[in-house]
């Protein structure tokens, strides 16, 4: 497969991208430990090897743009300022979580950060993102909405309806398909007969590109182009970013159905390590600088875990509150 070449980005932006990728990895590794220690309520969904996709796309947007991420996209939230403890609180059902414990696990996301909180029925965040795009255009702003889903979710009707609506209405949308090759246990061969997902964009009348989902700078470049196109009023685009889901669907899942050699092959390309290596290669960071970033990420994750443990659970007598808005 042919990937676009990597562009150089601003050094400060590049460091920030690497820092958020490292933080995403550290927070998820910490939460895996929390899962094993029984500190979380249910299962844990992580985005190992999705860090470049989350951060490469999020970094191409303005804070006023709207994102509709899913469960592999912690980096999108962190980029926009969601705190790691808020994510942990969500997986613990704490009163302090973004939903106050009314929802949990991966259903975090704060509209005040222009993040649409996802539900489990993927990709029904895709039509929601078209609505956010519609509203921004309706109000006369040049905002862009970016929606995320995996290869598996492309099989559902909402994927089709959202892409078709966005194209017909020329909405400022960017659709990111994170092709991690498995929908829970279902491999690509059982998900689509098409050669790839980027090609599907053609049928909707929008551009589709396929990028290396391990290379954060390649993802960023593709996202920036799609965002610029949307912002200019030229309509939606689709980005297929290819990676491999390196953990199970969730942490309870040993993912024995993933061929060992596939894991070995992709293990050689850790997106966070590749970003670090690129920064060193470009002379933006030295080895000590890289180590310092990893250490800060590790310490932050641990500090947030220690902070969240003592946070309160919701009061049972609040259960019926907030069903209807006043």
């Amino acid at each position: 497969m042919a990937y676009p070449t990597t562009s150089a980005v601003d050094a400060d932006l590049a460091v920030r991208m690497f820092e958020v990728m490292a933080l995403m990895r550290a927070v998820e590794d910490r939460m895996v430990a929390m899962y094993r220690q029984g500190e979380l309520l249910g299962s844990l969904y992580t985005g190992h090897w999705h860090e470049a996709i989350a951060v490469g796309t999020a970094s191409a947007l303005r804070p006023t743009d709207v994102v509709a991420p899913l469960h592999r996209d912690l980096g999108v939230h962190l980029w926009r300022g969601l705190e790691p403890w808020e994510v942990m609180a969500s997986f613990m059902g704490k009163a302090t979580s973004p939903t106050g414990g009314r929802d949990g696990t991966l259903h975090y996301g704060r509209l005040d950060l222009n993040i649409i909180n996802p539900v489990s029925h993927i990709p029904n965040n895709y039509p929601i993102a078209t609505g956010a795009a519609f509203a921004m255009r309706y109000r006369g702003t040049d905002g862009v909405a970016m929606a995320y889903c995996g290869d598996g979710a492309t099989s559902r009707g909402d994927f089709h309806e959202a892409l078709n609506l966005a194209a017909v209405m020329c909405l400022p949308c960017v659709f990111v398909v994170e092709n991690n090759q498995f929908a829970y246990s279902t491999p690509l061969t059982h998900t689509t007969a098409a050669v790839d997902f980027a090609t599907k964009a053609v049928a909707y009348g929008m551009p589709g590109v396929r990028v290396d989902g391990i290379d954060v700078f390649a993802v960023h470049e593709a996202a920036a182009a799609a965002v610029a196109r949307a912002r200019a009023g030229d309509g939606p685009s689709l980005i297929e970013a290819v990676t491999l889901r390196m953990h199970g669907h969730a942490e309870h899942d040993p993912a024995d159905y993933v061929p060992r050699e596939l894991i070995d092959q992709w293990a050689k390309r850790d997106p966070v390590q590749e970003a670090a290596a690129r920064l060193v290669e470009l002379g933006i960071l030295d080895d000590d600088g890289v180590v310092a970033v990893f250490k800060r990420a590790h310490d932050t994750a641990l500090e947030h875990r220690n902070k969240v443990l003592g946070m309160p659970m919701p009061e049972p007598d609040s259960e019926e509150d907030r069903v209807y808005a006043g």
């Binding site: 649409i116 909402d158 808005a325």
Partner: protein, 326 residues
């Protein structure tokens, strides 16, 4: 020369236009609503009056445009979604249930969207163009449901629905569209959601009903009055939240209750109302609460079959007489 009367259909259009005039955040979307003026012509002239920015013709994509509306509502707009027939709302079930109805409970972010759904039978339209949908959605926390019977309530409840900060399912009777008229001009004052109306006072039995049932009930009451049987007719107007106070006041006065609706009997709205009445009024009842409802069948097309499937005046009169004189 201004018309002397306003039809139920015109009332919906007048109320919608008046809210669009009053609030620039209100917009309309759906299939054929713009250039065609809507399948039933509720929005005839709207495209010319408000322009394509606010009168949005969509592809046939109920799930997609419902999600679009919910996303736009999350951003603070007030969409009015027209389902061409209430039957097609099943295509948008996932968006309404999972993204829309529980959004406020989950996230604290309101979704002020109105779903207009022309519903009900008696037009020889068959099993997939004649359905009543209130029982499906009445079970869902976070939605409000209104079902006006008169032009005045059709206008006032639509205005309230659009101004409400919650998703409101607005059930408009396509059978009543051009059959019921009110004197012009119509009041464009909001009718509060959650408020039933005693539309005919009586002493012997309370008929609790809504939509088409109100008109059947009033006719039955008129005929029974000639026999000396005094029927009180309560127009529920809102199904969620139910006006329990008005219902119980009526039943406590008459000591007898009959529930009437066109939707299928099994787990229909009448079951909820009957259960509420027995919980609240058990010691005042002189007999069981009786349901008059549609058969537990799809709505058939052929006139003789359809007439057999939904409540008709003789059955309503007989039942009220039997209950009132038992």
């Amino acid at each position: 020369m201004p018309a002397e009367t306003v039809t139920y259909l015109d009332a919906i259009g007048e109320a919608l236009a008046s809210e669009m005039e009053a609030d620039p955040d209100v917009f309309l979307l759906g299939e054929d609503v713009g250039q065609f003026g809507g399948a039933f012509k509720v929005t005839r002239g709207f495209l010319e009056r408000f322009g394509p920015r606010r009168v949005v013709d969509t592809p046939i994509a109920e799930s997609g445009f419902t999600g679009l509306a919910c996303g736009a509502a999350l951003m603070g707009l007030r969409p009015v979604v027209e389902f061409q027939f209430a039957d097609f709302i099943s295509c948008a079930f996932d968006q309404i249930i999972n993204n829309c109805s529980r959004q406020y409970y989950r996230t604290g972010n309101p979704i002020p969207v109105t779903f207009r759904a022309p519903f009900g039978a008696r037009l020889r339209a068959g099993p997939t163009h004649s359905q009543s949908i209130e029982a499906y959605f009445g079970h869902i926390p976070g939605l409000k449901i209104v079902a006006p019977a008169t032009p005045q309530d059709a206008a006032g409840l639509l205005i309230s629905a659009i101004r409400d900060n919650n998703p409101v399912l607005y059930l408009e009777s396509k059978y009543l569209y051009r059959r019921i008229e009110a004197p012009a001009p119509l009041s464009l004052d909001p009718v509060p959601i959650g408020s039933a109306a005693v539309v005919r006072e009586g002493t012997a039995v309370s008929l609790l009903t809504y939509s088409v049932g109100v008109h059947q009930g009033l006719e039955a009451a008129e005929q029974l009055a000639a026999e000396g049987i005094s029927v009180e007719v309560v127009d529920l107007r809102t199904l969620v939240p139910l006006d329990v106070a008005t219902i119980t006041a009526s039943v406590n006065k008459t000591s007898r209750a009959v529930v009437l609706h066109e939707d299928a009997r099994r787990l229909g709205y009448g079951a909820e109302i009957a259960a509420t009445v027995q919980e609240e009024c058990f010691w005042r009842l002189d007999g069981p609460v009786i349901r008059i409802a549609g058969k537990n069948t799809p709505i058939p097309t052929s006139p003789a079959l359809e007439d057999a499937a939904v409540p008709q005046l003789p059955e309503i009169i007989d039942t009220l007489r039997r209950v009132a004189t038992a």
